[in-house]
């Protein structure tokens, strides 16, 4: 027996939370309770005090899902509020060139503008502004820039480059610069969705149901309902959770179905449901991207930091905020290039202490090991003299899901944090070439006057990614993409994808704000069409509000430094 509701939203990350809030506004303005809007989330619900400043395996197993595919390893989140619990809160508008991209990946149709005509930087600007207000984005002052970020800026400045402070969705009032954003902020300083959009939607009456993993969808014949959603109840709670389906299933029928499970889940869910939805675009599961993520590190020599840069040394990689500065000098200001896939931006970042594993030692002995062994140990011993760099390169979306696991987005063999994704990721020539160029630029900057050792990503052509995109990309037509520029699926009335899966190219910046802006735009179009879809029609009095903020219980430092 299924439960009948107006709207089911699958996933509570940026797309799901923003859509939930904007629909809640519509319902309230129409005088209808938003109780008939239901958000289903596969992960648990966490308060700030449930997080830990710890990478112990139990905590990692709770909040992360590390998906290993062929040729790429992708990190995703697993919690109410999605990736906003774990992200590093860099909140940047994507440069205008992104939206004019004309990729030429072999086998990907005619050379064309990759984004639909309705989407450009100019057309997205109002939605970026709306998302910035909702997420309380602010640019740090130089006094608030971490030493690691300041060091990156100083290193660039001494070589004639520019470096900018990065806007962040972090509260300066609550942040104590502990650099533990990546396992969830115990101080409630990160403006995650559970403090704004999602909290506001739930307060308005939207139902948020954790531990519900949607497995398949099909069409309903019981009008006015269009879709039947089947979800497994997950065994996520208690002291010894299996983090697997419990054996109990639920079904909901809805008039409007919004898939917001992210690029690693939404395409898989649609592929599994394709027999029930035969008119879906054949592009489902294709064009998976990694937002051009490409990491490396620099180990600085504190003596050279003093003598060359005039700074009082450096051995404090673990302090501050994880992202504070980045340079755009390899994106703009170069002559002779158009939309050619050669740009990249270089951002200082703290990923985690575990990413030590990813880098060469910087001391490579010919014929000897480069990323393990004695030389590597010595590099690890200088870890606090290090910064990490994230090159956000203009690559192509090179991944394809080739099969569907029986349950969920990937095959999870045990309750641990690692699962197997059934996708290939074979980088195009453009994707490889632009990473090589980024490596050369980073190495040149690092070695300036003996400042530091460049530590490249270990001997690999694979991708390590925290920013999966695509798989259900938006396009002008169903032969090129899965959804249109409003997130509406081609061929199915009332079916939407509103999340990172609809992004057709890498963005040159961390993707959360662009996903949020696209979600604001898609949600606005959905609200406009609500009456046609059997939801309350948008009244003339409908006004847009910034979601209120609620922090909730959090750790308060015994002494504020």
């Amino acid at each position: 027996m299924s439960e009948n509701v107006d709207v089911v939203i699958v996933g509570s990350g940026f797309g799901g939370s923003i859509t939930a809030w904007r629909l809640a506004e519509l319902y309230r303005a129409a005088g209808v309770s938003p109780r008939s809007i239901v958000v289903l989330e596969r992960g648990r619900r966490y308060g700030h005090t449930d997080f830990r400043q710890s990478m112990d395996i139990d905590h990692l197993s709770d909040v992360y899902l590390l998906i290993q595919g062929q040729g790429a390893q992708i990190v995703t989140a697993n919690a109410v509020g999605g990736g906003s619990n774990l992200y590093l809160a860099a909140s940047l508008r994507s440069p205008r060139e992104t939206f004019e991209r004309r990729d030429q990946r072999p086998g990907d149709g005619p050379v064309r503008r990759m984004w639909p005509a309705g989407i450009s930087r100019a057309s997205l600007n109002p939605y970026y502004a709306r998302a910035e207000r909702g997420l309380r984005v602010k640019r740090p002052t130089w006094d608030q820039v971490s030493k690691s970020g300041g060091l990156w800026a100083a290193t660039l400045a001494h070589q004639g480059y520019t470096c900018d402070r990065v806007p962040l969705a972090i509260s300066e009032e609550r942040c104590v610069n502990a650099k533990w954003c990546h396992t969830g902020c115990i101080f409630g300083a990160k403006n995650s969705l559970t403090t704004n959009y999602l909290w506001a939607a739930e307060q308005a009456g939207v139902q948020v149901r954790p531990n519900m993993q949607v497995e398949s969808i099909s069409q309903s014949n019981a009008r006015p309902y269009r879709y039947l959603v089947t979800a497994d109840v997950m065994d996520n709670e208690g002291t010894n959770p299996t983090r697997a389906p419990s054996g109990q299933q639920v079904q909901l029928q809805c008039k409007v179905l919004v898939l917001s499970a992210g690029a690693m889940s939404t395409p898989v869910l649609l592929m599994r449901s394709q027999p029930n939805l035969p008119s879906l675009s054949q592009q489902v599961g294709k064009n998976l991207g990694v937002d051009g993520d490409h990491v490396a590190a620099i180990e600085f020599d504190p003596r050279r930091v003093r003598s060359v840069l005039g700074l009082p040394g450096y051995h404090e990689f673990y302090k501050g905020k994880p992202i504070t500065t980045m340079s755009y000098d390899w994106w703009v200001g170069r002559a002779g290039h158009a939309y050619d896939g050669t740009r990249f931006n270089l951002q200082e970042i703290f990923l985690s202490s575990l990413t030590n594993f990813l880098y060469d030692s910087g001391r490579t002995v010919p014929g000897g090991p480069s990323w393990w062994g004695l030389q590597k140990k010595q590099a690890i011993a200088h870890w606090s003299n290090r910064i990490e760099l994230l090159a956000l390169v203009e690559d192509t979306h090179d991944g394809t899901f080739y099969a569907v696991p029986p349950s969920g987005a990937a095959e999870r063999p045990n309750a641990g944090p690692v699962s197997v994704g059934l996708f290939n990721y074979a980088m195009s020539e453009q994707s490889l070439a632009v990473r090589t160029a980024a490596n050369q630029a980073m190495a040149q900057v690092a070695r300036y006057r003996g400042l530091g050792k460049f530590m490249a990503l270990t001997e690999t052509q694979g991708a390590y990614c925290a920013h999966p995109l695509g798989g259900c990309r938006m396009a002008e037509s169903a032969d090129l993409g899965v959804v249109d520029d409003t997130g509406a699926a081609y061929g199915y009335e009332g079916l939407y994808c509103i999340d990172g899966s609809i992004v057709p190219t890498s963005l040159g910046v961390n993707p959360s704000l662009t996903i949020a802006a696209l979600s604001e735009r898609c949600a606005e179009r959905l609200v406009r069409r609500a009456g046609d879809l059997g939801l309350p029609a948008a009244p003339r009095s409908l006004g847009l509000q910034t979601p209120p903020q609620h922090i909730g219980p959090r750790m308060v430092p015994a002494r504020h430094p």
């Binding site: 112990d56 990692l60 062929q70 610069n177 302090k319 202490s353 594993f357 393990w372 004695l374 430092p557």
Partner: protein, 221 residues
């Protein structure tokens, strides 16, 4: 296909069939192979006949020490025993064995137990030309064995990367220590990472403008 051991060929067949063979990152490979290994019962029995559990554990410790070498000690940070032959002693500070890599190998949420037999089988096969079992090789020979195992020309490199991921996770992430600090986690101590910071940090910024900026708002137009 490799000619090292029948189990390897069977492992490769399985990986090929699932289209999972290729360059992958190590951290996930325990799950990758553990998720689908009908070959394990036979390979497990082959390995168990090769030595007692303490020898296999000691060999895993020796491998972990080759990945992140450390000082010679008799017990781990969590008080577990260390085989006297396991640590080569080429570095004076704590290494992965002291950081309880062995306990992490056996943690149920890591899933390496199912990979251990085929991994140790290949490790020992590759050790023989260097003079004996891996545990009793000298440092330089251990390095040569691991260089070969982790080389891209080795079709079972994924298995070796999975084995390598565990000591890194134990050491650099302190994966078995909840709310680790530099006092409780040897890896953090070596790295200079204090660990939990319940009060955050005051001296986190140089507090000065460091560069000319290109944009007005922090993002490009």
């Amino acid at each position: 296909m490799t000619d090292l051991h029948p189990e390897h060929d069977r492992l490769l067949e399985l990986l090929d069939r699932r289209q999972l063979l290729g360059r992958g990152s190590a951290a996930a490979l325990g799950a990758l192979v553990a998720s689908a290994l009908p070959i394990l019962p036979s390979s497990a029995s082959a390995a168990s006949s090769a030595g007692s559990p303490s020898v296999t554990d000691a060999t895993l410790q020796a491998f972990a020490d080759t990945m992140i070498p450390g000082r010679k000690v008799s017990t781990t940070a969590l008080g577990n025993p260390i085989d006297p032959q396991a640590i080569a002693g080429v570095d004076p500070s704590p290494g992965a064995v002291e950081a309880d890599a062995l306990a992490l190998y056996h943690h149920p949420e890591v899933g390496f137990d199912s990979l251990e037999p085929p991994f140790l089988s290949e490790l020992e096969t590759r050790s023989l030309p260097h003079g004996g079992d891996f545990l009793h090789l000298g440092w330089d020979a251990r390095v040569q064995v691991c260089l070969a195992g982790l080389d891209f020309s080795n079709p079972t490199r994924l298995l070796w990367e999975a084995a390598a991921a565990v000591p890194f996770t134990a050491f650099c992430a302190a994966a078995l220590v909840r709310n680790a600090t530099s006092a409780s986690a040897p890896g953090y101590r070596v790295m200079g990472l204090p660990g939990v910071a319940p009060n955050g940090y005051g001296n986190f910024s140089y507090r000065r403008r460091m560069s000319r900026e290109r944009t007005r708002n922090g993002w490009l137009p």
